[in-house]
Amino acid sequence: MKTNRREWLKTGLGTAASGAVLAAAGAALAPAPLAAQLPSSRNARLGGLLSQLGQQAFWKSPEIRLLRRTSHGHTAPQVARALELGYEAYLEEQLNPQRIDDTACDSYIAATYRDLLAMTPRQAMTIADSGSPYFQLIRPLGRMTVERAMLSERTLFERMVEFWSDHFHVPIDGAYSLKLFHDQRVIRPKALGKVSDLINASMRSSAMLWYLDQVWNTKWGINENYARELMELHTVGWDGGYTQSDVRELARVLTGWSVDGQGIFQYKAELHDFEAKTVFGMNFPARTAGTGAAGMDEGIAFAAMLANHPATKRFIAAKLLRWFVRPDPTEAQIGAVVTAYTRSGGDIKAILRAVLSLENIMRAPAKLKRPMHLMVSALRTTGARAVPVADVRRDFDGLYFPLEAMGHRVGGWPTPDGYPDRAEFWAGMIIDRWNNVNTVLQVANTASGWTIVDLDPFLATPTVEGVVDAIRSRLFGGEMSADLDAELRAWLTAGLTRSRVLDALHLATMAPEFQFY
């Protein structure tokens, strides 16, 4: 049942619930309170928090909430656009990124990363073999990813690229530096397509097949690594009902899925095990060994089954709900998303319409930004821009290194499960968050400066009131806590110099509500 916006606001949840919403966010934070482990004590705790929270009600506007959820921070034009279009129309626009003009971002990326984007897998492998892929592959790809998130108007698309990059995780260092092609040919083209297409593409991703040792999995020597992760991490999930024997049998099904010398997917029938297999309820009878694509149909059939498996639908639905909505999605929420999955045949746009429903977003507790999200949102909301420094391209190096220091470098997670999407994992780093969010707002007149915040929009009305309003509007979409309001006023009342305005921006990005979205 759909609720339209007016009815929604009439229920009064727009105000009361957002208190609960923040409380719920609090309960999920680290150090994760032990009390938050049992539903009953958790609810008691929420009640207690709610009374403490009083009337702090954040982000009452559905459009602003949606915008915060579906971007790495909002820009002033985006806020205007979302309010102009309204919730559904804005969501629909973001679900169809080709309708959004992104020329500025695309041309910047194309010009800045010409060499990287022109590279072939073979060239990348040669560089990786030379033992120094860092400057030619790893750092440029990391920076390009962050800069796209920072500059793009297709913000929901970029959030989905981030989601699938964690879901089908391949590390940036390793796998012969083929992540570039995983990113360009698997994740980005299919991030809003069909789930089954993504699974199929990931099974043909040379980076993935190298990373998870699938290239070593042959009829002479089984390597289970990829078979296990294909089920555990990519489709049915850890509790999807498969057994150790299924893992082994699936590894046999996948023998022959490999990579050629050019770093491109190649099925090699000569490596395939043509004996009988039974895996996860599917029987593959013994066959005569063949050539060409013989035997590849087994993996294809199994992948199709996986994409349609109830456990896969549930796993991906719950994970997307955690990504966009709440850490503990309800059965009803999961059920609605699974239904959308089934009806649309796994169309990601249809799935996202269910995930990002007005009800879900209005009930969503505030969520802690992960470090990359925090840093990019500081740049997007303040309108910071890179400043080329004579003969050294420093553009956003300042973002690359802090992310490395905060353990959220692009593709830097060491295991196949991708970066955690759990607040308790990231929340303990408050010190680093404070320090690094400052780093990106440095004025570029020092040896270590990287970016410039254009302070003029914040000083358009050069009064204390005017600056505080500008910060409220640009950093928080028009809704900010009374505490922060008071601190900013106190800070600016002592003098309205440019450096104090910059300090006020620092303080605002260090404030509790900037840590959340």
């Binding site: 680290a30 994760a32 482990q37 004590s41 308790e424 010190i431 601190e487």
Partner: protein, 424 residues
Amino acid sequence: MNHPRDDVACDEYRHVSRRRFLELGSIGAASVALPSWLPSVQFAESEDGVRDVLVSVFLRGGADGLTLVAPYADPTYYALRPTLAIPRPDSSSPNRGLALGTFFMLPRTMAPLMAPYLSGELLAVHACGQSATKSRSHFEAERYLEQGKPEDYTIQSGWLARHLATSAPMSATAPMRATSITYGMPRTLAGAPKSLPVPRPASFGVTTPSTAALQRLYNGAWTPMRDSAIDGLATVTLLNRLDFNGYRPANGATYRNDNLGQALRAIATMIKGDIGLEAAHVDANGWDTHANQGSIGGVLADNMTEFASALGAFWQDIMQGPSNSRVTLIATTEFGRNARENGSVGTDHGRASVMFLMGKAIAGGQVITQWPGLEREQLEDGQDLKVTIDMRDVLAEVVQNRLNNRNLSAIFPDYTPRFRGVTK
């Protein structure tokens, strides 16, 4: 990041005693209310020096116990590992192992562990693992071990966190009871009161226009963030009083300039600094050796070198001589690897592995095991070293005997541990 070499450290190490710290004053910290779901507990004693500081090292990826502590007297070992086996200690190979007795040996790359072993302060527990889960997934197995209860996805906290939550602070005013030299808190310490990941202890500080404004902002309604922020600011003040770069290890110990070596050096600094630290965690990554394992020269050998030299230096620095530091170190891994090497000169995920314990009060100088054997019918599912000792047996014994906490049912829910004599 450049680490000074210990042997050329020039600054006199500034020892900050707890008493001195109290005189200097800390920013104050909220007390931790006991969670309601825990069974009623008796607080452990909190007099000085009653409990050990616990150092937890996690070998992530599933370390190959059959290489780390190899059973040279089990002939099947050489049949299962034609290319990966460590040569016998009595062979003439330059890569021959170092005998730990008549059955097990250490690879030569683990030589720094011989001294603590021969001093009776390093213990290995073999064929040890998780008896209640057969999961071969890194993430599940790590999670189950770290949370202290397998096959349960509702638990969000770590076993070590629950030890801290059920014991009074050793020092009531310390802002940081536990730390992890990692980016982000590991599950072992998830939910621990007054704990903070400090990935780079030597450069721990806050840049802000106004610390006071920051404290006021976080004193508001963002409760969990508030505790994290307030304790964080106090910890910054505290760690800035320690001179990590100028730290000089005792007894001529030298920490190598690698991740684990530098992490243990920082932990040693904090222990000697007497700042009220009760537990410290560090991860060692890269033990997932599916292909080209390199037991003798290669990835695994390099990992073992880093591991053994870090532990060796820590033992020399902290556990030797007149030092009265009460410290126990535990090294665990989520599971072992297949007994048989695979088709790509590596090993796939298996079951039992080996655990190490180090400390003055550890019953070291031996390998405690109920060796299950390596013949096909002795292996679990015909492929893996059987788990004959549950890791929780070992952890629980340390918690009760060295950390003085008897609330084992809260720390290891629904499990009755069998002590194996790992402490003296």
